[in-house]
Amino acid sequence: MHDTFPQTVREVGRESARPVYQLRNVSKSFGNGAIRALDPVSLDLREGTFSSVIGPSGCGKSTLLKIMAGVAPPSSGSVMLDGKPVTGPRREIGMMYQQATLFPWLTAVQNVLLPISIRDGKAAAAARLQEARELLDLVGLAGFEDVYPRQLSGGMAQRTSICRMLITEPDMLLLDEPFSALDELARDFMNMELQRICMSRRATALLITHSIPEAVLLSDVVYIMSARPGRFEEAVDIELPRPRTLEMMTTPEFGAYVRHIRSHLDEGGFSS
């Protein structure tokens, strides 16, 4: 069996912090078990920690995220969030996707308020208008509140979608390659923003990414997955001081983490 990780839940990050997410033997298969998308996964995400999942395309990362977000049921296993099973979308979860997915008929601030307006109605959204404006201001979009998405650059659109995630004040952030469509410079900037936001809110985050440096830069622990069927191979604790800075990416320690993760991804048959 996999004595490295799957069956024994590793205590990582801030050991004292309470677990927010608890997954036990969560698996997913399609076609009556004929196609295994995700082999049993067990892991704990502790409050205020930042975790990343890295693995090749088609390793079931997005499947895992959908199960955690409560939009797809697991084939087996249990998914607990704050001690309650996840059987549908939950208010304490905020999500970001690869695409900003802003709606072109809404202004930036209306896009930010969309989650409130859907969950609690238009009056509730109107009441939080000031807050939404302040959030946009915080990510450097002051003056763009009433602009339509077509006038925003890719980075600005993605910053708007961060605000849309934050307006609901989620304790748990699920991030599905949120910055992979951005250029390198914008991406570095956004990653630093993301760290600042997570630290200031003590939010728990799970990031799915293809970028090893990004995973190392942001995470307390990086989970390495292998493909077909998706399986958690190893957890790597990143013991770099916080707050992390972009300069850290040039240190030997950082390079050692990146090398280690890359070699393990290669072992898992990562061919590209």
């Binding site: 959908k66 977000a69 409560g70 939009v71 549908g88 979308p89 208010r91 979860i93 999500m95 996707y97 690869q98 695409q99 997915t101 709606f103 072109p104 008929w105 969309l114 989650p115 859907i118 969950r119 339509y148 998405p149 077509r150 300069e247 040039t250 240190t251």
Partner: protein, 295 residues
């Protein structure tokens, strides 16, 4: 950390001065593409009118079949005077306008509802859609005698055929529009816990607006054809009847000028839809950049 100070790594960019010729591109645009739009349109009209005049003048076809441009021009003024002075032609135009507007109204209500049924529910897609496709492949004008038999020779049979023809493009446009939303948007609404109704109203319908309006524009053209066809076949007091009578009396100039006034009605309807689309779907590329921004 890095032992090298980063600022010492760069160097100023210095090159030998060169005595090269200016890099000038000669972009040649064909003369036909440089004609301004208004000149091109007017020019083309004049050419067509000249050919028309020539065909008439040299009697290449019988003068009974093809009147001269001057005759048609005079008749346009006659008909215009009749309409403006509130004559019988204004009543006829108003009758046809009513048929077209009512027909379009029913087509929108029925077409949109069926489109939502087909695009949103599995029942609609599996059970209703095959029948709609089957009816859509039939020549709908062939239903005109049925509508006349059922609804009589009054306005309602014309409205029915006009609506019948215009409904299908609206159904197709609406159903296609509801499928236009991408997976990201659907996923987002699901994670927000949006209800089916909310997802439909706040995401799928707005996303599908461009396709819905494409259906409406096709429908706006079809509704005219439906109303006029029904008048041809079922009489009544509309413009179609005037055309039929004029044609039977070989008053070809009158037929031409009546068609011109009908096209003004069709054009107004079409452009009303386009203007509403520009207002509602202001965010879509197709409405923001028109066909005329090449120059």
């Amino acid at each position: 950390m890095m032992p090298v100070e980063t600022s010492s790594l760069g160097r100023p960019i210095t090159v030998e001065p060169g005595d090269f010729p200016e890099t000038v591109w000669s972009v040649r645009e064909a003369w036909i593409d440089r004609i301004p739009r208004s000149v091109a349109m007017a020019g083309l009209l004049i050419v067509v009118l000249l050919i028309w005049w020539g065909v008439h003048h040299f009697e290449i076809v019988s003068r009974i079949i093809l009147p001269s441009p001057q005759e048609v021009g005079r008749d346009i003024l006659t008909v215009g005077a009749n309409i403006l002075s509130g004559g019988y032609m204004l009543d006829a135009l108003w009758m046809t306008t009513k048929e077209v507007l009512w027909g379009f109204f029913f087509a929108i209500v029925i077409g949109f509802s069926l489109g939502v049924l087909v695009g949103e529910t599995t029942f609609g897609e599996k059970a209703v859609m095959p029948y709609l496709v089957a009816i859509d492949t039939m020549p709908k004008v062939a239903f005109a005698p049925l509508f006349l038999a059922w609804l009589g020779f009054g306005i309602s049979s014309k409205v029915a055929l006009a609506a019948f023809i215009a409904t299908f493009p609206i159904v197709v446009g609406t159903a296609a529009g509801l499928h236009a939303a991408d997976d990201n948007a659907r996923m987002m609404f699901r994670t927000l816990g949006a209800s089916r109704w909310q997802t439909l109203i706040r995401m799928k319908i707005p996303t599908g607006m461009p396709q819905i309006f494409t259906g409406l524009k096709i429908g706006a053209v079809g509704v005219m054809a439906g109303a006029i066809t029904a008048e041809f076949l079922g009489g009544g007091k509309g413009f179609g009847e005037l055309i039929r009578v004029a044609a039977s009396q070989l008053q070809t100039p009158r037929v031409f000028s009546l068609i011109l006034y009908l096209s003004v009605l069709g054009f107004s309807l079409f452009w009303s839809v386009v203007l509403i689309e520009r207002k509602l779907v202001f965010w879509h590329r197709s409405t923001v950049t028109g066909i005329d921004d090449r120059h």
